[in-house]
Symmetry: C2
Subunit: 284 residues, 2 copies
């Protein structure tokens, strides 16, 4: 896409986006890309409200499909996490048409439900990376600049440092992956380096989720697990007695999955891009 003006569609398959995010993202994009400012279109659905969600299930699914099936868009960027993608992922996947196949899709956290469903059906442009709402974080401009650099130029410096384009990779929030195993969203991860991160869970919940994930026969075919950051861990009463890295190593040992160390991902501004699969180099 280098040299021409990218067109990025933002949709919110989970929770509602505060309007200020759009204003700030558009201003940042103008500053970062003078002369070739990407066209970033926030679908009006991002700002809709229906109970917990940014619009009801049908509105959220339709917005995603609108952008994914529109040949004029290069990328579908998830506005934010929260909760709700699992309710619409199957409906979205069933309605995707040819223009959707080679687009870039980026998000993380709750959006992992969609990344999984898209990767499962063979989409090659799926990546775990910052969402629009990350601009509200401390240092959030850097996170958004990183994901723009990925979506617009496939900038290699946006990548998680161990991603080399040769080995297959995938990344998920721990709780989200746990909740999609065994469902029609579950992708095949055989031979992948699986990177996992977590936010706002107690240590016993991280332990329980890693029991669930590493006990799954399909997951046991990954080539190894890397642990991203586990931030804002809620209190464990009494103290759990192990930290998140010790827990991950424990479950790797028990399950026979190779422990591959730490990954540079998490619910923060340093969250790097992890493409799903190994083919990202071919998409620049």
């Amino acid at each position: 896409m280098s040299g021409e003006r990218s067109k990025i569609g933002v949709v919110a398959p989970a929770s509602r986006l505060p309007p200020e995010v759009a204003t700030r993202v558009l201003a940042l994009a103008e500053r970062l890309y003078p002369g070739r400012t990407p066209e970033i279109v926030f679908h009006p659905q991002c700002f809709a409200s229906h109970g917990h969600f940014a619009g009801d299930d049908e509105a959220r699914a339709q917005a995603f499909v609108d952008v994914a099936n529109d040949a004029s868009f290069d990328a579908v960027w998830v506005a934010r996490g929260g909760y709700g993608s699992c309710r619409v992922a199957e409906s979205i996947v069933s309605r995707l048409k040819q223009p959707s196949w080679r687009k870039t899709y980026v998000g993380y956290s709750d959006a992992g439900m969609l990344l999984a469903a898209l990767y499962r059906i063979g989409f090659t442009g799926v990546a775990h990376g910052p969402v629009a709402q990350d601009i509200l974080r401390d240092g959030g401009d850097v996170a958004v600049a990183r994901v723009l650099a990925w979506m617009i130029d496939r900038a290699p410096e946006a990548l998680e440092p161990t991603v080399d384009g040769g080995k297959m990779t995938a990344a998920f929030n721990i709780t989200v992956l746990s909740h999609l195993l065994g469902t029609p969203l579950e992708p095949r991860l055989d031979g992948h380096v699986l990177m996992l991160e977590e936010v706002s869970e107690a240590m016993y919940r991280i332990d329980r989720s890693l029991f669930h994930i590493t006990s799954n026969p399909n997951i046991r075919r990954v080539s190894g697990i890397m642990l991203g950051r586990c931030s804002n861990i809620t209190p464990n009463e009494p103290d759990f007695g192990m930290n998140e890295e010790e827990i991950a190593q424990y479950w790797c040992r028990r399950s026979g999955i190779p422990w591959l160390g730490r990954a540079d991902i998490g619910h923060d501004s340093d969250n790097k891009i992890v493409p799903f699969g190994a083919s990202y180099a071919g998409q620049t």
Copy 2:
């Protein structure tokens, strides 16, 4: 067991039991069963401490196996929930010997991991019901009296009212069932009425867990779902827009699983006994 003195062993495969629970349970048993007071043995492991747990994994597994494999015990009663059974369930199951096969096993919440593992290998005396620690609840004596009446006399009034001994039943905490699906603990629940309850989760988490459970192909072979009580629901920001019964009905509709109404189980003193399977009548 009627007419003779029952012997019940209490073990804690998850969190540590406060010693006052033992004192109060023993006093209640004496009041309830003058002349044939059951012998209730609290394994010393119940009061051990290792980080989050009532002793390390090996100590917890060994205590359970000690009691289960001892022919002098009629029942293995789980001291309390908390967290930890998933770490020891496989180890326990691999060490069970003949005297364990026809015993009664009762617990709920975290202990669902063990109930599942025991039922999976064909144990017929498994039931979802109050734990010893429930004596600390308001009205907790009633809960403990109920589970004693079940363990000692198979008292039919202890049962969840829709349990008739003819249809197969099973009961789980929603989060616990979600986290054992796809693991070596998962039991076969084809044709069972599946009763589900929850505590201390936000509405969006209940929704996500029910997505996970009802999207599982094995679970879709249950004969129907009944919803127990969902208590101490933590705040959902913004308001979720559906209550727990509407959520359960929604996922039943989407998955094609029959919705069978409410079940009289939950994290409270009214928690009734739900035997796993349909054979309880044969065990009196």
